[in-house]
């Protein structure tokens, strides 16, 4: 991928953007790579030379990289920072770079930094659970140490001290506890991911259709149903269930205040529409959907 510098930002930022501070080491898959959708990975590989991104659009990844560089310098007794561990599964080497490990008398607590949104910490993120539980397995298998806790240190980029919603984080740095899996569950998950990646690599080499991204892979938002009345700009009610919407519409209609109808607002694959994967323009799955909707 070519990194451009249209706005002439300082060269060290460009160097950082080019990923010189981050490497998956001598492994076949990094943990995050293993978790990523195979279709996205194969398209990124195929179109690597054609992809272009300007450094000015990479603020959050840059800050993420910068944090890793800073963390490597901060030595604190009882804490291990920025350690990359390697493990073989079915002849494939997997590596994970663990941001922080707190050594306690009872075992290790793994901490991972995330620049994220308040919304993310208010909702369960299964990918955090998957990522940190692979780290847990790495620590247990490679270092032979018991892991007693998994935590996300969320650095909330859109924090507002005036937001009083239930579950809203109290501070811009917020710790999230992640459920622990047993090693069998983690191994099952790794095997599943290896299989889909192998399948997609072969499909790419054989010029076959790549496995499709799932709604979760595509960050698909939910389809919602807005009960509307003629002459009114805003919805009377917005619900997630079509049957509920019909019931509300019937009740509103019976009031005789005007024509009532349901506006179906289809879910949107936000990763595709925002091109967060970086390959939306080459993706037949997404492009065919756009074609159909046109």
């Amino acid at each position: 991928m070519e990194i451009t510098n249209v706005h002439n930002v300082p060269e060290p930022l460009v160097t950082l953007a080019k990923g010189q501070y981050y490497s998956k080491g001598k492994s076949d898959y990094s943990v995050t790579e293993l978790m990523s959708p195979p279709r996205v990975r194969r398209l990124q590989e195929k179109h690597d030379a054609e992809r272009v991104q300007d450094v000015s659009q990479m603020l959050w990844p840059l800050l993420g990289s910068a944090l890793h560089v800073v963390m490597e310098r901060g030595e604190t007794e009882g804490w291990v920072s920025e350690e990359r561990l390697f493990m073989e599964v079915d002849g494939v080497t997997i590596s994970g770079a663990i941001d922080l490990q707190q050594e306690t008398p009872d075992g290790v607590v793994i901490v991972d930094y995330k620049f994220t949104s308040a919304w993310a910490v208010m909702n369960d993120k299964i990918e955090w659970e998957q990522q940190l539980n692979i780290y847990k397995l790495l620590v247990e298998r490679v270092k032979g140490k018991k892991v007693i806790g998994l935590r996300i240190c969320a650095l909330i980029r859109d924090f507002s001290r005036h937001d009083a919603r239930e579950g809203y984080p109290l501070a811009p740095i917020h710790m999230v506890d992640i459920p622990l899996w047993d090693s069998q569950r983690t191994m099952d998950y790794i095997h599943d991911r290896l299989e889909v990646h192998q399948e997609s690599k072969v499909a790419a080499d054989f010029e076959e259709q790549l496995p499709l991204c799932s709604p979760e892979d595509r960050w698909m938002s939910e389809t919602i149903y807005a009960v509307m009345r003629d002459g009114r700009k805003t919805a009377i009610r917005v619900v997630k269930d079509e049957a509920d919407a019909k019931e509300i519409a019937e009740a509103e209609s019976a009031k005789g205040k005007g024509d009532v109808y349901i506006d179906v607002r289809l879910g949107e694959p936000k990763r595709c529409t925002g091109d967060y994967c970086g390959v939306a323009q080459w993706c037949s799955q997404y492009q065919s959907e756009i074609g159909e909707s046109k």
Binding site: G91, T93, E195, K201
Partner: protein, 222 residues
């Protein structure tokens, strides 16, 4: 202990599995050899490397890969064996470092000891561990065998590529399902990518064979 008795020693408690292959501890194996024959010795062959201004090195530089040689003498009988310098996936390393070379020499020593009988049962044929994943191991071993017999004679990359391609096709007959085919293909991905780049005709042959096989395996069984 004589050579026949060495053949019968159970070495299972002193092995380690890596990447689906079984490795015998060189320290334990050598201790066992000395226990059997205190006069036993081994010699690492050295070569002049013209790429390093004529430096004497403990490996044979074959251009795109390297080979180490060890002669193990037990009960007065010297046996020489060779081993390509391999990475953790059992693939040849073009520019090995000191650690890679040392690892290969010690593995070659174990192989030489096995040729005298100790731990020989964990090998099948030339150097095929019996209990590794069948498909991956055969592919890996075919590359090892290729390097051993072809590079030395010719240093010919094209001949190596042909043998690798033939090996891929030959061992594809062991694949029984699509999952196995995917695993076999991706286990050899780096070499296949190199083949595609350097020898596209051979790659096309392998690809055609595997594409057809995949279609066949994907058919529902009656």
């Amino acid at each position: 202990m004589n050579p026949n008795e060495l053949l019968k020693v159970n070495v299972n408690d002193h092995t380690e599995k890596k990447n689906g292959l079984t490795y015998l501890s060189w320290a334990w194996a050598w201790a066992k050899v000395l226990e059997s024959d205190p006069t036993a010795n081994y010699e690492v062959k050295t070569f002049v490397d013209n790429d390093l201004n004529g430096a004497v090195v403990p490996y044979m530089n074959l251009g795109n890969s390297c080979m180490v040689w060890v002669t193990v003498t037990i009960f007065g009988k010297p046996i020489t064996c060779q081993l390509p310098v391999l990475d953790y996936r059992n693939k040849c390393i073009a520019t090995p470092n000191a650690f890679d070379i040392n690892t290969s020499i010690m593995r070659c020593l174990v192989k030489g000891i096995a040729l005298h009988g100790l731990g020989l049962y964990i090998y099948a044929g030339e150097d095929l561990p019996m209990d590794a994943e069948p498909v991956t191991v055969k592919a890996s071993d075919s590359s090892g065998a290729v390097t051993a017999s072809v590079d030395l004679d010719t240093g010919d990359d094209a001949a190596n590529a042909k043998l690798f391609a033939d090996g891929m096709i030959e061992y594809s007959s062991h694949v029984t399902d699509v999952k196995g085919l995917n695993s076999y293909w991706t286990s050899n991905k780096r070499q296949l990518d190199r083949l595609k780049d350097k020898h596209p005709d051979l790659y096309a042959d392998v690809l055609a064979k595997f594409s057809a096989l995949k279609k066949q395996l994907a058919q529902p069984k009656e």
